[in-house]
């Protein structure tokens, strides 16, 4: 990964599209999706936007894409319905906004940001979250507009007795997220998901839980996490990684320590994107795959399989 030395800091946006097994026929479009999201987020930074603006933009793009399990394309709960969770966090104020089990909006990450900025609360759930969305003019969208053929097919498959949703999730797409640091040294994170395939109605995973699905603190860095939600929660994965960074570990070492602990303590696998206030960043995962991309300076970085790190200059078209 890139290590920033010396006094200069380099703004960066890093995104992930879930620590999942991407089907062969979707690999290209998934990589294209994370690259595009990272690029859009970085453009926001270049135009003077904040890290918060950048992570929200990146995640909105992936929510709008049907190829990730967030917003449109979300996996379905056991009843065949979409229930979404999201979080944003501002490293400057430690303020966060979360929504859980929202059904009728296109961009949960935007609603999460509105919770943070327009209410004195940090977390709204279910009907309350929808009620708030209406009150601030967020358009209501139909369940149908969020459900894809793929997610419906996947749901049907998992209805079969003895189907193992956790294992099946490894065949599909997952949670999306982003971290960023802007030119002022402010860090932010955002994470958004449809949750676990065929989850119980009302099931909330790590994504909207501050410290688990994400955490951001200007004094140490920002993390967005993916993987088996319940496992990430049990170790508060994002906060754990930042504790290591507070104690002097690099973004990469801290992320590896967090993932190693997840595996040794709980036998679980996951993935994260992590950034520090100087612009050092990493994308690490203990699964075999995690589509990810980062945009910094003139370079687009990306990968899918473990160990991959491709680079392309922005002047190249893809």
């Amino acid at each position: 990964m890139i290590v920033v030395r010396g006094a200069g800091m380099m703004p960066v946006v890093v995104v992930h599209g879930g620590a999942v097994q991407v089907p062969e026929e979707r690999a290209e479009i998934t990589i294209s999706g994370v690259c595009s999201a990272a690029r859009s987020g970085y453009l926001v930074l270049e135009e003077g936007g904040s890290s918060l603006d950048a992570v929200v933009e990146a995640v909105v793009q992936m929510e709008n894409s049907p190829y990730f399990s967030a917003g449109c394309g979300s996996v379905l709960n056991v009843k065949g319905e979409v229930e979404m969770d999201a979080i944003v966090m501002d490293g400057k104020t430690l303020g966060s906004g979360s929504v859980s089990a929202v059904r009728d909006i296109a961009n949960p990450v935007q609603l999460a940001r509105l919770v943070m900025e327009k209410t004195s609360h940090a977390f709204l759930t279910a009907e309350g979250a929808s009620k708030f969305a209406r009150s601030v003019g967020v358009p209501e969208v139909s369940q149908e507009s969020l459900i894809t053929e793929y997610s419906r097919m996947f749901w049907k498959k998992n209805l079969v007795p003895d189907a193992n949703p956790v294992e099946c999730q490894m065949e599909k797409m997952g949670t999306v997220g982003a971290v960023a640091v802007d030119k002022d040294g402010n860090v932010a994170c955002a994470t958004s998901t449809g949750g676990m395939p065929n989850k119980m109605e009302g099931r909330v995973g790590d994504t909207p839980c501050v410290g688990s699905g994400g955490y951001a603190d200007n004094q140490s860095g920002a993390v967005s996490a993916t993987g088996h939600g319940e496992a990430n929660m049990r170790v508060t994965l994002s906060r754990l990684i930042l504790f290591h960074m507070e104690q002097g570990q690099s973004a990469e070492a801290a992320s590896d320590l967090g993932l190693a602990y997840l595996k040794s303590r709980l036998g679980a696998l996951g993935g994260v994107v992590t950034v520090d206030p100087q612009g050092n960043w990493t994308s690490r995962f203990s699964t075999q795959q995690m589509p990810w991309a980062a945009a910094q300076n003139d370079t687009l970085h990306y990968g899918l399989n473990s160990g991959e790190h491709f680079r392309r200059s922005f002047s190249e078209q893809h």
Binding site: L94, S120, G128, K131, F132, E201, G211, F243, L266
Partner: protein, 309 residues
């Protein structure tokens, strides 16, 4: 290895009129939970018993006596965590359940999930035989009056918290004779909160956390501030760095005050049986049972001692 149980009934400017009932309430809960430990029960059983006692007591803002949201309804949050396995159960925004802590435990033990919210949580409750109680039975006269009073003007969360009449969360932590730790927290949230508002209580690492390698914590206070600093996890990270439970709690609460101007309290227990009840608010009703002694307090630095029996 001697077992310990600590409970709290909320960190806020508890008015004198409620002081005696609050302290009596936490002492009763501590006694109930400690009986479980004395009889060889687990830390998990003990914290559930203690918190149930507090939920059933209308003096506290949890279960019976919970505050009302802006629509005049009761929405409850709770969490329970097992330090041995790091297993956890949580519910947010459940309605018409008398003991949300028990529902949280059912989520932990009867599902492969950790947290259920809203209608889904209520459906699950029904499916495992939890009886629903009418909202009226959860709403105390006091809370109904307070809700009506607040309806006439808009108050920010901080103002509500800092007023004399803001009730608060309940919780318990314990270590049993096998050295296992556990925690539980339960609340009705902030008075006149927005519909569906979730605070720190059911969020793992914030309202509570338990790990046999470091200890168990239950927090109370300004929920949005506790979320910002993941207070429970922050306290235990200090313990992991070698601080005593008292110093760890103090450091973390101080940080919360300085960094985000939030006040609160925490009860903490270590796997070796050390415990602390710490707060940066004016008062916190708390009690701790250890050996044959029942400790309790309300005001800063207050520590009363009596026989457990």
């Amino acid at each position: 290895m001697s077992a310990v149980l600590v409970v709290h009934g909320g960190a806020w400017a508890i008015p004198d009129e409620l002081a005696e009932a609050s302290v009596d309430g936490v002492k009763t809960a501590a006694r109930k939970g400690f009986v479980v430990l004395r009889n060889g029960g687990s830390a998990l059983d003990a914290v559930e018993a203690a918190v149930k006692s507090l939920e059933d007591n209308t003096v506290f803002n949890a279960g019976h006596g919970a505050t009302l949201n802006i629509d005049g309804e009761v929405e409850l949050d709770a969490i329970i965590m097992d330090g041995r396995t790091l297993n956890c159960g949580a519910v947010s925004s459940v309605k018409n359940i008398a003991n949300p802590v028990s529902l949280a435990r059912a989520v932990m033990e009867k599902t492969s999930h950790i947290m259920l919210t809203g209608k889904g949580a209520n459906l699950f409750a029904e499916s495992v035989g939890f009886s629903t109680v009418p909202t009226d039975t959860l709403v105390s006269e006091f809370e109904r009056k307070e809700w009506e009073r607040h309806k006439t003007y808009v108050t920010g969360v901080l103002e509500d918290f800092n007023t004399q009449w803001a009730h608060d969360t309940v919780g318990a932590v314990a270590v049993d004779s096998s050295g296992n730790v556990a925690c539980a927290t339960s609340t009705g949230g902030i008075r006149n909160k927005m519909v569906g508002r979730v605070g720190d209580s059911p969020v793992i690492g914030c309202g509570a956390y338990a790990d046999n390698f470091s200890g168990a914590v239950s927090c109370t206070g300004h929920g949005e501030s506790i979320l910002k600093v993941t207070l429970a996890k922050l306290i235990l990270s200090h313990v992991e760095q070698g601080e005593s439970v008292a110093d760890a709690s103090q450091l973390a609460l101080q940080y919360m005050g300085e960094r985000v101007q939030g006040a609160g309290g925490a009860i903490t227990v270590s796997p070796s049986g050390k415990w602390a009840a710490t707060f940066t608010t004016q008062r916190m009703a708390w009690a701790a049972a250890e050996n044959d002694v029942l400790w309790s307090g309300l005001d800063p630095n207050e520590r009363k001692k009596e026989n457990l029996n």
